[in-house]
């Protein structure tokens, strides 16, 4: 089992996870490990944590960052959002036109660049992926109160594989709460264990689909019967905690969120750590790659495990 290197092109790399190619939805077993770093002691992750991540596909770290520090990140986000959005990195709410997300903050904003390389986060990524890493995607999300919209179930990896050319499952996402998360303000929900299967979706992907999908998902949508089966097996969890809490989850874990009519916003920072051994090739969906601000392809800036 070889891992993709940057020099390889699409033609040389087998598609281990075909999706959006058939007319019937189906699942297949994951062919990649979940935890790569087990043998190496996990960079400070306990045996129990590694086992839990392997089984559930996520780890929740309550209050990993102190409240004061989080407040400064939240302030930075407010400043960026107040400037409004002109560049493509800024995604607006379809109805209100308010800023919903800002992408590529790890490259464009020093505060978030430093945070993305903070050892409190990267040690976890190293421990799970057992390699140097880089930021595949970063963004800050404002999910406002009252009008926060739902985000339907999806596997990030499915999209990254089909639309970005991420060859294998060797990436983890990290969501840092900038606000207190409650059960009631539309927290991220996960289907524990769903990362161990790959849910192939139906339908071809239209070009430039990403401009819409960042606001509303229409392709790469898992089948209802499959979702029902997976949720019946292990239920649905919504790990919640105060501002400063951090959720790490596997790139293939099914997750989504309900709307948020409460007055309490649910802002967060989102970093995706991908292994440098799993760099992007051509998209497996045979479409042009999405732009650099959504999926790092040329601007890889490794974060070294022993740096």
């Amino acid at each position: 089992m070889s891992t993709a290197t940057p020099e390889m092109t699409r033609k040389e790399i087998p598609d281990c996870y075909p999706s959006r190619q058939l007319t019937e939805p189906h699942t297949q077993d994951r062919v990649d490990p979940v935890v790569y770093g087990h043998a190496q002691g996990g960079h400070g992750l306990s045996e129990a944590q590694l086992l839990a991540f392997d089984r559930d596909g996520y780890l929740f770290f309550p209050e990993l960052f102190p409240r004061d520090e989080i407040r400064s990140y939240a302030g930075e986000l407010q400043r960026l959002a107040a400037k409004g959005g002109t560049g493509p990195e800024t995604i607006l709410e379809p109805s209100s036109g308010d800023v919903r997300s800002i992408f590529q903050v790890h490259r464009n904003h020093a505060v978030f660049r430093d945070l993305s390389r903070d050892r409190r986060l990267t040690r976890i990524a190293f421990g799970l992926l057992d390699s140097d890493v880089y930021i595949h995607q970063s963004r800050v999300n404002l999910k406002p109160g009252f009008v926060g919209k739902e985000f339907y179930w999806h596997s990030d990896f499915e999209t990254w594989h089909v639309e970005d050319g991420m060859p294998r499952m060797r990436a983890v996402s990290c969501s840092i709460n900038l606000t207190d998360n409650h059960a009631t303000n539309g927290p991220v929900m996960v289907i524990p264990g769903s990362h161990r299967q790959f849910v192939a979706c139906v339908g071809q992907t239209p070009e430039n689909h990403y401009q819409k999908s960042l606001r509303r998902q229409e392709y790469g949508v898992p089948d209802q019967a499959i979702l029902s089966r997976l949720a019946a097996e292990r239920g649905i969890e919504a790990p919640v905690g105060p501002a400063g809490s951090v959720l790490f989850f596997d790139c293939n874990l099914l997750h989504g969120s309900n709307s948020n009519i409460t007055p309490f916003p649910r802002s967060n920072i989102f970093f995706v750590y991908n292994s440098t051994l799993n760099r992007l090739t051509d998209p497996f969906g045979n479409i042009p790659p999405r732009p650099e601000f959504v999926a790092t392809r040329d601007g890889v800036d490794p974060i070294l495990r022993n740096g």
Copy 2:
């Protein structure tokens, strides 16, 4: 302080809770009691329960009905929904066309009529309202999995007062879970204590507004700043429990629900007990009354406390 009797007409009854008349939102204190039945011992409600209802505006009764009995109600609902909807009592989802709610089940379907008069429920209504009661409105809701839509914050009383002519706050709603409620499948959320203020809304009500509002609320919407203040004071609660659990809440308690993307539906039966001393007059919004299936006006069929 007099209470409305059926013989009184709109002209003779002062509007104690004006709403949708001004251009600025505001709140006023409630002029009516919350618990009427206190002195009489509450028909089996404990002192602590009466105090909690007075303070919070709701009471939650986990598994008030056994699972077998609930299953038979759920089966009846499925039969009714499968027949589809032709009459006005059946409300469809705007997008999918699936049945969302069926109104007036306490009159049209024997099983639900019997349930609406079941002592396990009515004793609670008697205990809170201290009078004979009748069903002001009844419905069964199917809130399906995957596509269950959010329902924005509102006070039922605000609508019943403006659009139906309910004079005073002497009614309680009762929601019976037909499915297990989780924090994640869009449960009813309440703002505890919000029943003690009346949130006057802005905007005139168009005629026949109800045909739309049963699917999506656009009038009688509380102001965001007021909601923020109320939620900051007491937070937001989502009382959840297994099928058979029952939520009683005051007619003026602010409540709403988020969407439901989980595979788990959230069906329930909804009865509104209004005091026979609080029967409808002409709508205070100076619009024609809504139809009988939404608001009982002519077909009052009292449930006697000592019957």
